[in-house]
């Protein structure tokens, strides 16, 4: 019982870190609004209205929140075992390409079969892309960040090439996009699916053997190895899970909203997920709040430029500031724990 309360306190301390970070970011953002000669209250109420003011606004907020949340979970599951999943954008590009190519090649097959094939191809592509830096790190000893960053740019250029000069290119003069795919998934299905994924993720992490192995390996690799867990296998499985989660995010975007590949559609999505993961301190519920915050900022930014003179880029600045401060430990849970123990003694 005592252990549970101290756990609760630790969680509270950790989340207060994120809250302070978010507050500081909004405070600095407010000063930036003053710089343009507008009132910060007007600007923030415009964002709030844009995010929750109408059914359409709420729908947009939910859409962005789901997108950010899946990316956050993808980042966090890898981060738990010390693998920095920075190649998320590459995973999005490859799984999008896999979907469009499968849809292009399987013309004539019945619709549901095509959809299943596309989903499988996307998941496989995402997982494989996520595995490249992971294998480089755990088998070859190369820094995964180097490999991940290079992979992001490489796939971005390859994707641009393919949607401009290949059978899947839509020959339009105005912009480079891929051909439109006929398969759709209705938006409510995506929403429900995302919620189910979140519940499953939290359940697996908390109360199943693979989740326990992941936690143990993440905390101490040597200890895990000594207690009979094949650490490398667990780490690679985490990378596969991360890749599949990114691919799921991509499926939601392409099958639910875009129905084609836009040029650089994944730009910045990896950073969004990372920010949400840091706001939420890698806990399932915390990340949900983090992605809701970022989703609201994204959908609220639309009204910001309509109702006020403030440039929409305020959102980018606030997000950067949140990320900046979310990594600082204002209150260190371990230290406070130690102090409490000393007082008790």
């Amino acid at each position: 019982m005592k252990d549970k309360t101290s756990n609760l306190i630790r969680n509270l301390i950790n989340s207060s870190n994120s809250i302070v970070a978010v507050l500081i970011a909004f405070l600095i953002g407010g000063f930036m609004v003053l710089l343009v000669g507008e009132s910060p209250i007007n600007a923030y109420s415009a964002i709030l209205k844009g995010a929750f003011g109408s059914p359409t606004a709420i729908r947009n907020t939910v859409r962005f929140a789901i997108q950010v949340m899946l990316m956050a979970y993808s980042f966090s599951v890898c981060n738990r075992c010390g693998y920095f999943n920075i190649s998320q954008e590459a995973q999005l590009y490859t799984s999008a390409l896999a979907m469009v190519f499968v849809s292009f090649w399987t013309e004539g097959l019945p619709g549901p079969l095509r959809l299943v094939l596309m989903i499988l191809a996307a998941a496989a592509a995402g997982a494989l892309t996520c595995l490249i830096p992971a294998v480089a790190k755990f088998k070859l000893g190369v820094n995964e960040v180097v490999v991940g960053v290079m992979l992001n740019y490489l796939t971005k250029f390859i994707c641009q090439h393919l949607i401009a000069f290949s059978p899947i290119a839509a020959k339009r003069t105005s912009s480079i996009v891929s051909i439109e795919i006929p398969e759709h998934i209705p938006v409510p299905v995506i929403t429900v699916g995302a919620v189910l994924i979140v519940i499953a993720y939290a359940f697996i992490l908390r109360s199943t053997i693979p989740g326990h192995r992941l936690t143990v390996t993440g905390k101490n690799k040597q200890f895990a190895q000594a207690s009979g867990i094949d650490a490398t296998k667990v780490l690679l499985m985490a990378a596969v899970t991360g890749g599949v989660l990114s691919a799921l995010c991509c499926m939601g975007e392409i099958l639910g909203y875009f129905h084609m590949i836009y040029n650089e559609f994944a730009a910045g999505m990896g950073t969004d997920g990372m920010t949400a993961a840091f706001i939420g301190n890698n806990t399932p519920i915390g990340m949900m709040f983090g992605s809701l915050l970022l989703g609201a900022l994204k959908s609220g930014s639309v009204l910001l430029s309509v109702l006020t003179e403030v440039p929409t880029e305020l959102i980018d600045c606030v997000q950067g500031l949140i990320m900046f401060f979310a990594t600082i430990k204002f209150f260190n849970a371990a230290q406070i724990d130690l102090k409490r123990r000393r007082v008790v003694e």
């Binding site: 180097v146 490999v147 960053v149 250029f157 600045c317 950067g320 990320m323």
Partner: protein
């Protein structure tokens, strides 16, 4: 047929900012800091180089402001990662996000425009004409460049000397190789790391000034991945300054080639991917070869043991 002299000339011009950033990146790499914030450093310097030049009506004040902006971001970055022990990758990514947003945002209150700001053309970085270079066939592509381009071409040699022939360079290399040993040998490793990062910021500042003031304008996102290209160049060169000069030149020429190709309707995207593909290969291939050769050695040792037994 493509005019390869003009290709080379454009290549030198494109290589200069990449080279300046790469030299900064190399210094950070030498003290084993993998700096992903190069893009942010450079973009911030681009913006403030334009601000400085426009406010003071003097291009050299612009260069100074650019360098100061680069150093400022470097100070923030280094305090966060060295003093507050924040994860360097996350800190770098947040600097990049923040700078991208901030430079877009500040265009409104400072210049009252959005997207881009073009200055009068007399605020461009002046070019230097060296008479005798015209008479030499290929070297003439180096003529009529700004002073920062010449500096960028000299810098690898200066860095080579500093790194391998001075005590400061030795301190830097030992800090990167083994921090405990450096500490034991009486090197103030924190000071060395700060110096390397601040120099990195200053060099990114010069790169930003060259990038923005050579075309006397600021464009949102005008660094356009150059920070990461420089990172790829340094990775490919194994953090050796003279090899990095070669790789940066290669990437500069490939950039100008991709511009020429895209104007004539070919796909330039695959050319853009070359730096990253090469850097990826350079990072992975040696390790793969070592792994395979180790496995083979192990097998041959086993075979020897078997042969020994059967005899």
């Amino acid at each position: 047929m493509m005019d390869w002299i003009s290709l080379l000339e454009l290549g030198v011009r494109h290589a200069a900012p990449i080279l300046l950033i790469a030299m900064g990146c190399l210094l950070a790499q030498k003290v084993s800091i993998f700096n992903l914030a190069l893009e942010g450093f450079t973009l911030f310097s681009c913006f403030f180089a334009v601000v400085g030049a426009f406010v003071f009506k003097n291009v050299w004040m612009g260069v100074l402001c650019g360098v100061l902006a680069g150093v400022l971001t470097a100070v923030i970055y280094s305090v966060f990662i060295l003093q507050l022990q924040v994860n360097p990758v996350i800190c770098a990514l947040s600097i990049n996000t923040l700078v991208t947003g901030l430079t877009r945002y500040l265009l409104k209150p400072i210049f009252n425009t959005s997207g881009r700001f073009v200055m009068p053309s007399e605020l461009a970085l002046p070019t230097i004409h060296i008479g005798f270079l015209d008479s030499i066939p290929v070297v003439s592509v180096l003529n009529n460049k700004s002073v920062l381009v010449y500096l960028s071409l000299l810098l690898p040699f200066i860095l080579y000397y500093v790194l391998f022939h001075t005590e400061f360079g030795l301190n830097m290399r030992i800090t990167g190789l083994n921090e405990e040993a450096a500490l034991a040998a009486g090197v103030n490793t924190k000071k060395v790391k700060y110096t390397a990062l601040l120099l990195n910021g200053a060099l990114c500042g010069l790169a930003g000034a060259e990038l923005a003031l050579s075309v006397y304008m600021f464009n949102v996102g005008m660094t356009n991945g150059r920070g990461f290209t420089a990172l790829a160049a340094v990775t490919l060169a194994g953090a050796h300054p003279l090899v990095a000069l070669g790789t940066c030149m290669l990437f500069g020429v490939s950039e100008s080639l991709s511009i020429q190709l895209s104007t004539s309707g070919y796909s330039a995207y695959l050319l853009g991917a070359i730096p990253y593909a090469m850097a990826l290969t350079a990072a992975l291939l040696p390790r793969i070869i070592r792994l395979v050769s180790n496995n083979m050695k192990k097998k041959s040792a086993e075979r020897q043991a078997i042969e020994l037994h059967s005899n």
